[in-house]
């Protein structure tokens, strides 16, 4: 065995270039790159393996296996009843050795339930995507997850499954029979017609005819099935079938009861203590076995691998709240200029001078998209200016909910500057939800109304350039603000001013100058310093090859 290890070591030195370290730090032989060396190494390894194979002494009864750091614990970050096993790899493992895991409900049980058997080269802890604070030591540890419910399924599960299937069949019968019948009848007619035509032909294509006849046969069989079933027949004829509905309701009740029972059983199965034994196999013989070790699954309430995410969310929340408090005290926070937003006044003023409307668009998103929310907030600020200057604003929409929200916002803006009488409900109007129908309509409107200013705020897709180029050809002042990085280049080239990404999110604070909103901008800036620091420190750790530290800023979902 040691000979094997040493030779592998020598090989690794010899073939340094062929050993590639993948992202998780696992070493593997890059067989692809060396088409000749790969097989040669493989053959040698096999030979070596077979030497050790021959050397292995046959042991009639399994000896007691002592695994270093053998642990049985609840699997973190899940709550479906799963227990994890981990142990340090035995020195001198090779692929002739395999592990076996037995599970039992009783410490003194027979342990005849084999959960799984795997070669010692598999199931490593480092393959599991875990941050260091969840995994502990990863290097050189075997790891296995035992989903208890798969090993001991709840006894009522099959019954539940069959009842559920039955219920689904009845449901589908009630809901779909009529439609199916109609479809089948149409198909029948079509097939019949095609057949007639085929047969009429001078040189009938017998193969096709045969196929069509077969299809027709299938079709009529299906139709017969429907007609011969009295319930289905009634559904087709539009006669109510209370018995079937009642049956369905009963079944649904039964399923409900069974589900509750299965849940109860599952809880019983998940909550108890289980015992595990790990054994080693060599030459297909059980050579050694550990003592029984117990473990119990827990329903976890926190996703520990998301701890970094959680901490960041909390810290950022505190930061935002703190700066808002701070801003209330210190009203004069400095804000750098954002050209696009300084131009808002100019654009609205120009519209007044020219007596032409202002167009405002909120983008493609729905009301739950943050960029749309941001766009509606900016609309409020611009509508105030529009109301002050007594200009017209037009806001075409793709989403009725966004339209409704915007109606409220614009109305409020007019009220705020004391001109509620000038507000017109139909300045916000729905066009269509279809991307390009919307674009066509708005482009047409731009051509006809010749707006003096166009605002494109929110999230955009391909329509961005269609709208802004058409707008620019009418000579309007155009101001865009978006967080869709794909479309930014087009706004940059066709609009007079563009709010890039975060500038767009800063717009509402910039326009209103409300201290609490400006305060959050300050928090964002501090966030940026955090990122800069993370980038620099992360790069240093990456360069000195300490990737574990980077777990702190990694996504573990």
């Amino acid at each position: 065995m040691t000979f094997f290890n040493e030779s592998l070591f020598i090989f690794t030195i010899l073939l340094d270039y062929n050993l590639i370290q993948d992202k998780k730090g696992q070493l593997y032989l890059n067989m692809n790159q060396h088409k000749i060396l790969g097989p040669v190494i493989f053959v040698i390894l096999i030979l070596l393996a077979s030497f050790s194979y021959a050397e292995a002494p046959a042991t009639p009864t399994p000896a007691t296996l002592v695994l270093n750091d053998f642990k049985v614990f609840d699997t973190p970050d899940e709550s479906t009843g799963s227990i994890s096993l981990s142990w340090e790899a035995v020195s001198g493992e090779n692929d002739s050795l395999s592990y076996v895991v037995y599970v039992d409900k009783d410490a003194n049980g027979k342990f005849d339930c084999e959960f799984c058997r795997f070669p010692a080269t598999e199931n490593w802890k480092k393959d599991k995507k875990w941050p260091f604070w969840v995994s502990g030591t990863k290097e050189g540890y075997h790891y296995l997850e035992v989903p208890i419910l798969n090993v001991f399924p709840p006894p009522t599960q099959p019954e539940l499954d069959s009842k559920q299937n039955e219920l689904a069949t009845i449901k589908s019968k009630i809901r779909n029979t009529k439609k199916n019948y109609k479809n089948l009848m149409e198909q029948k007619e079509l097939l019949q017609k095609e057949l007639d035509e085929l047969k009429k032909a001078k040189e009938p294509d017998f193969k096709t005819i045969q196929e069509k006849e077969k299809a027709l046969g299938n079709n009529s069989k299906k139709l017969e099935n429907i007609i011969n079933d009295p319930d289905a027949k009634k559904i087709v004829d539009g006669i109510p079938v209370p018995e079937l509905t009642a049956k369905m309701r009963n079944l649904a009740k039964e399923v409900g009861a069974l589900e509750a029972k299965v849940d109860q059983e599952k809880a019983g199965i998940q909550d108890r203590v289980y015992y595990f034994k790990v054994g080693t196999f060599e030459n297909d013989k059980l050579t050694a076995l550990t003592a029984a070790t117990s473990g119990q699954a827990k329903g976890n309430w926190f996703f520990w691998a998301h701890l970094n995410n959680f901490v960041l969310a909390v810290v950022f929340s505190i930061l935002v709240l703190w700066f808002i408090r701070h801003a209330k005290k210190n009203q004069n926070l400095f804000l750098r200029r954002i050209n696009g937003l300084d131009a808002v006044e100019e654009a609205v003023g120009r519209a007044t001078e020219m007596g032409r409307p202002v167009f405002y668009q909120t983008g493609i998103g729905g009301m739950s998209d943050i960029s749309t929310i941001c766009a509606t907030v900016i609309l409020g600020k611009i509508a105030e200016k529009v109301a002050l200057y007594d200009t017209q604003i037009k806001v075409p929409h793709r989403d009725p909910i966004v339209m409704t929200v915007c109606q409220e916002i614009v109305k409020e803006a007019y009220t705020k500057v004391g001109r509620p009488d000038a507000y017109k409900e139909d300045c916000n109007f729905y066009v269509t939800s279809d991307q390009f129908a919307y674009t066509a309509t708005v482009n047409g409107m731009m051509m006809r109304d010749k707006p003096a200013a166009n605002f494109f705020m929110g999230y955009y897709m391909a329509e961005a350039l269609l709208l802004s180029e058409a707008g620019s050809s009418t000579g309007a002042i155009q101001i865009a603000g978006t967080d869709s990085t794909d479309q930014l280049p087009f706004f940059i080239t066709t609009c007079d001013y563009t709010l890039i990404g975060e500038e767009f999110y800063a717009a509402s604070a910039y326009l209103s100058r409300e201290p609490i909103l400006v305060g959050t901008l300050k928090a964002q800036d501090v966030g940026k310093f955090f990122i800069l620091a993370a980038l620099v420190i992360g790069t240093i750790f990456a360069t000195i090859r300490m990737p574990e530290i980077l777990d702190l800023i990694k996504d573990f979902s």
């Binding site: 449901k171 009630i174 809901r175 369905m248 970094n308 959680f310 960041l312 969310a313 926070l333 400095f334 804000l335 750098r336 729905g366 009301m367 739950s368 943050i370 929310i373 909910i401 409704t404 929200v405 109606q407 409220e408 269509t432 939800s433 279809d434 390009f436 129908a437 066509a440 309509t441 482009n443 047409g444 051509m447 794909d486 930014l488 280049p489 087009f490 940059i492 080239t493 990404g501 975060e502 500038e503 901008l521 300050k522 800036d525 940026k528 990122i531 800069l532 993370a534 980038l535 620099v536 992360g538 790069t539 990456a542 360069t543 090859r545 980077l550 800023i553 996504d555 573990f556 979902s557």
Partner: protein, 241 residues
Amino acid sequence: MDTVLLGGWIAAGLTLFMYSFLYKDNPFFRFGEHLYLGISVGYGVVRVIFSNFINDLYAPLVYDHDFILIIPALLGLSLYTRYFQKLAWISRVTFAFIVGLGAGLNIPRIIDGGFFKQLEGIIAPVLSETWNFGFANFNSALIIIGVCSVLVYFLFSVEHKGAVNVISRVGIYFVMIAFGASFGYTVMGRISLLIGRSYDLIEFSKPEYYYASIVLLVLIILVLAFYEMYIKKQDKQQVTQ
């Protein structure tokens, strides 16, 4: 007339109607535009009726007695309270629900999928394992410099002068390279779309479609020419008046 032929003529006609917008706004385009509007809304309404109302609401409510669905139905109905001044505030609860949901879902997902994923993609060793500075390392260093300078550009509460100004300038240059490159990269995709349409138009100009595209193109040009003359005449009359 069979449906394929009819479909071909319609497709060719509508395509040319929409392209006529490139010349200028004209009745052909306006017809296409309004037709498209009506069709798309109608299609949406039918979809909503069958898939949202019947499948998602009516069927589970009636067949499965899934009464919890009354809540979203009420939330949906509450949107209409805005037609009654006194009750209008109720619709805000629905807005608040939708907006709050979006905001809540957004935070952790953005942190993991945006924030951490971005950092993961950016951070890379700036020296090789043997402490050499290769081309790959140069690239990763350049990326980090780029990211940092762009972030500095976005600083809002710091005045952009001195060193900050210089760095944010560099950031803007990076941004400009990116925008120029993305623009150039996209040209191909957009031309592809035109190629796709051209394939169709070429197809419809074949004899089996009775040269639909060509016939329609000529017709549209002729009509537009007459229309133009008519408008000019009218304008002249207006001027003389």
